[in-house]
Symmetry: C2
Subunit: 152 residues, 2 copies
Amino acid sequence: MIDLDDMDRAILRRLVVDATQGAGAIGRKLGLSQPATWRRIRRLQDAGVIKGRQLLLDREKLGFGVTVFLGVKLATKGRVSLEDFERAVTAIPEVQTVEHILGLYDYRLRVVARDISDFERVLRRRIMTLPGVGDVEANVLLTEERRPGPIA
Amino acid sequence: MIDLDDMDRAILRRLVVDATQGAGAIGRKLGLSQPATWRRIRRLQDAGVIKGRQLLLDREKLGFGVTVFLGVKLATKGRVSLEDFERAVTAIPEVQTVEHILGLYDYRLRVVARDISDFERVLRRRIMTLPGVGDVEANVLLTEERRPGPIA
DNA sequence: CTTGAAAAGAACTGCCT
DNA sequence: AGGCAGTTCTTTTCAAG
């Protein structure tokens, strides 16, 4: 865990909203010179606080109008079966996120599909055939809002 | 829905993995000139296929070691109560994602906290006091893997 | 930390195939 | 559609205060 000052936090707050901005643009808004801002961003990257920059895609415009969250309970939960499940599930292209969780279900999967019948195909041929799958619960995504989250 | 050719898809596939790369770097790998690649990326942005670039933060290194998914069932589900709930929940800084879903629960929230006792504070003072909240289910995140997802 | 300057690269434009 | 050449802007690095 790295300690950041207020300026680092201000930079992160700006960058989280729009990672397109460079050091120059952010520095101007915060009253900091371009090189100083650049060095701080560089430091945050080297420290691993900034893990990378991700492209946000509009899946609907790509023809994937359906997003479903699946809660998956494993029938057998040894170390091997967790690894087997994870290896198999990450090989399914329609699976966008694999979350190992603690609670009623063991895994939470974010699955995208072209439409409901395409989703049924993925569910029956890909998900239900995964090694060790027990109960499965599905939630269809209606709307989603992402927020910056806390920096400090 | 926009129709893309194989070159557009190849560009997106590269960009989704690492949005840091510019048009020049991607074009070189695909045997396309910098202006041609740039024009394609520009087109994808204008078409809305590319919604933006998001900074990926390591929440643990920022001191937020606990991520919890909450399934929230509303007690009353009129149009007004959905809007009231959404307005109130998006004002909580610890809430990173608000997903309106169809299924056993009405909403899924991604909540980050410093530790479990900090999470309890957020749950008791922020979440449970939200307007219209009924049942709440919690899942603690253990590990997470994000995949590029399908482009075509 | 700052400024200034130089080098490299990326973004953007116009023209031509 | 793609490539080439050129301009402008930003990024990145350096030196120096």
